[in-house]
Amino acid sequence: MGSNYQAAVGDMVQGFRNWRMWTRLAWSDVKGRYRRTVIGPFWATLSLGIVIFAMSVVMARLFNADLRQFLPYLTAGMVTWALISSILNESTSVFTTGETLIKSLRFPLSTLVFALVWRNLIMFAHNLSIHAVATVLMSVPLSWTSLALFPGLLLIALNGLWVAVLLGIFGARFRDVPPVVTAVLQVVVFVTPIFWNADQIKGKLGFVLTDLNVFYHFVQIVRGPLLGTAPAYLSWLVVLGVSVFGWVVTLAMFSRFRRRIAYWL
């Protein structure tokens, strides 16, 4: 058990040191998806941007909200959600898509996981331009608080890593996992305050959908800084707690099943 655990940790450490490989992998994935298009990865950004701007006009009217506040709120939330949901969605197939590599070479499996998170951070940087446009249009004041974006992103990356390892293991063994995760995420985006504001639903339901909702806290630690407001301590605490818990569980699972992944592919 002890040696398996060391091997699992060793895989993570060596994978991280393999940064030349995962940064290269991530970039070539980003470039590859939109090869020979004029604006490249900005296609994803553009389509997301159009959806958000169109939605904001309709929803601001529906909620009777001020577009000046609602638009930046929606862009910040959606850009953050795009990061979180695509990490989760891609995690389930992180090992299955690397099948040829895993079967023909010996390298730390976590390299693929680092590439996944890095790729999504690159896409987030692209998508951030949507929020930048909204910020300028609605002249949202930036403050020093906005710098909290960096620890926020770091925490999302740290959690993205364990999520990708864990869901990657499940996804490799049980091929029903990817569609299940996709289906769940489609629900989460509606029940989490992303399209709507946390104070719009009050009482017990509001408590369940915000304070008890882990996704809400993860969105908050990036959305807050983007809007120039500090996330609540509760959000930081929940995210830190989930990070620790997630890594403990994941390292245990990775120790137990790392050797089996190649057999499942």
Binding site: S28, G32, L101, K103, S104, L105, A262, Y263
Partner: protein, 254 residues
Amino acid sequence: MASIAVHSVTVDFPIYESIRSFKRDLLQRAGGLIRHDSRHSQRVTVRSLDNISFSVEHGDRLGLIGHNGAGKSTLLRVLAGVYEPVAGKVVTEGKVSPLFNTSPGMVVDDTGYENIFTCGLYLGMSMREIQAKVNDIAEFTELGEYLALPVRTYSTGMLVRLGFAIATAIDPEILLLDEGLGAGDARFTEKASKRIDALIQRSSILVLASHSDGLIRSMCNKAVLMDQGKALRVGAVDEVLEAYHELTQTKSGT
């Protein structure tokens, strides 16, 4: 000093999909043994390697010979560390370089030059090493200006040449070769075999899987005869190849 020690290695592959029909299909083939896991009666496994032991010393050239499905490739992958055995263990000393296909991680939309670096990194070379070898690789491929174009535009032969040139640029300690590592047209093949020879010369240990006795005879000093996941004979090349021919005759006789 490089070395490999294989101690009673056993490998079982779990079969998950459509168990019934797959099982019937598999039973008719000359592959590994199919058995039910004692703990989970539902689970079907295929025994690909059964209690294999041998050792390889520094300077040895070991040939793995056997028919299709005998377990040669699986054994190579176990030596590479891709599959960790369910029982027994493999102890290797020295850096292991598996060469099972020529283009691991090739990105078809990247240029030939970019792929030299991508594949080189996958094969365990450092950026500096690749930089030092990029001219040698480029020259061997004879692709010239094509190397600045996306690999997508290459013919199959050109792709093979590029992949082969990169894969054979490594400096291996323990080299694991699958015979499938073919290389393009006839003129190229002569060049290729020279290059492979040079690669093998550089390595401290070679493990080569093949079902061609000529190849094994010309390259190896030791051999293992594999059949249905078992190592039937381990020893000097001549002796093992003789056993291989006997096996082939009895198989074709029945």
